[in-house]
Symmetry: C2
Amino acid sequence: MKNNVIKNITNKTLGILGGGQLGKMIAIEASRLGIKTCIFDPNKNSPAFQNANIIINSDYTNKKALRQFVKCSDKITYEFENIPLESLNFLEKNSQIFPGIKALKYSQDRLLEKEFISNLGISVAPFYQIKNYVDVKGALEKLKGTAILKTRKFGYDGKGQHTIKRYRIPNIKNNIEKNKYIIEGIIKFKKEISVIVVIKKDGSAICYEPSENKHINGILRETAFPAKISIKTKNKAKAIAVKLARSLNIIGIIAIEMFVDKSNEIIVNEVAPRPHNSGHWTMDACNVSQFEALVRVIFDMPIPNIKYYHNCKMINILGENYNVLEKSLYKKNHKVYIYGKDKIKEDRKLGHINILF
Amino acid sequence: MKNNVIKNITNKTLGILGGGQLGKMIAIEASRLGIKTCIFDPNKNSPAFQNANIIINSDYTNKKALRQFVKCSDKITYEFENIPLESLNFLEKNSQIFPGIKALKYSQDRLLEKEFISNLGISVAPFYQIKNYVDVKGALEKLKGTAILKTRKFGYDGKGQHTIKRYRIPNIKNNIEKNKYIIEGIIKFKKEISVIVVIKKDGSAICYEPSENKHINGILRETAFPAKISIKTKNKAKAIAVKLARSLNIIGIIAIEMFVDKSNEIIVNEVAPRPHNSGHWTMDACNVSQFEALVRVIFDMPIPNIKYYHNCKMINILGENYNVLEKSLYKKNHKVYIYGKDKIKEDRKLGHINILF
């Protein structure tokens, strides 16, 4: 060993694109391991700025700022998908970006994502490309009148989505003309689960056990670990997740949201090549959190086997249930995280609670 | 409750005097609870600066910097004792300092500390004030030739200490004339333990269970939780710790190092009115760490009962055993903390490992 690991992390800086809560939690874990951080975000009130060594407060397309970012950072990662590919290509020419760009290209576009996944022989919801308003009608016929119309790009937390029931198309004709949409069939699922996969530089995979999600209006509200599904289904989900991670050339971390239907078939819903809200339970229930695992891969540190200390229920705190925090602070098995955002708004993720059992 | 707690922490900033590892760990816990930090340290490479919102890089006596610090900080705490009392008095006039100044006054001066503690009827090692070289000889007679000569002020990690055996006085005659010293008898102890006490604003006390310490050359090397002493001795140690904390008007946290002798008598060795190295095990073994407890008291947040999830052995990483980190990173029950100091030096605390059982 001869202290190679230590050499890899001494006086090193991790560049993080995005200063939201995920960036903040990556930064804290990096800092705990003695790694400095340089955080890039256009919003001057970014939560992660409070845990940064160097702050770059600029638009993602600003070449001068990107150059400064590369100069400050030994390695680069990102905390969200919607970073312009042009900027990422520029950064990749001058540095190393984890977990890579290929996955980002697909996860930035629901149509490309769905095509890529189904081409691997992995099930996804039935989907149709929507180029114009007429396409919606055609697709709805095939989907028997019930579907979700989604923007191909820039959607998150249910934003840019319209649920259609009984052929009732929402009044978005003008938007359809302007934007590129996709329409998806609605899966009748028994469970929503997430699997988080870590791929190391030597290609070996570490797969966290599946957790179980509860969404309301497209926003994750709760994640429970472990998922209440059979071991067989767990193994199937993990195998799909690892296959998908490898196909996307991940080096670092990826979260894969899946549905389990009544016949225990797995249908992949979304992928996120970064730490994910549905993996926050790993912060207190495991020996190595998703954030620490990412930092360890990036800086060539070993990752021991994952040890599960507790069962956990993670509850997201949004503007509408912000007062839950108050009660939680009195509870001895609640671990409270408050992101320190500048404004409390409905549907905005402001914190989370890990309840340990 | 009515969201009073949440109001107390929204858009608040904690000012921290000192940017070492303790300041860093306080800052991370504050940040996790959504509280911003302003960190004051004369050293531009301070580890805590990487987790600060606002950095004040100045000498502790600079009035302009102190004024800026007060302006940025809603509440103030400190991570080490040797901050000039004059600066603290200035800050106290304009802000609130936790855990208070009284304890600092005593812990800055070994003679005042020992007098204060023994006046409470709590046992300390026999001690004598040393004003000049002749006093050393007189005290040594009383202590039968074996003692520790210590500077009254500015000592830490064994610095400023000379062990005397068989009346052999070290060659420090000139220093004695210049400095103020104290001489202490050497306690024949069975165990060294630490007790960490949290006193809330309503006066109620929370006392962590005692842990057991191993020092070499005056530097803490290991702390094991729980201490292997009887419940009766634990209760005695905790009662002494709480009494001492209350007498020192602590509001926040204090660590008390004690000896247990062969008749299970408790002798107080040192007090530190701040989070302490011997309490790092609380970061992974408990529901609420010493750092979180301090932040919660300062910002009027409740503290639930302490829950002990694991036994723990904390190992300090110093320049001389820095390579232990390497092996630790492979172990699934080791939690590694690297402070990110600018230089690796012998006898310098560079990180710690919490081994969980």
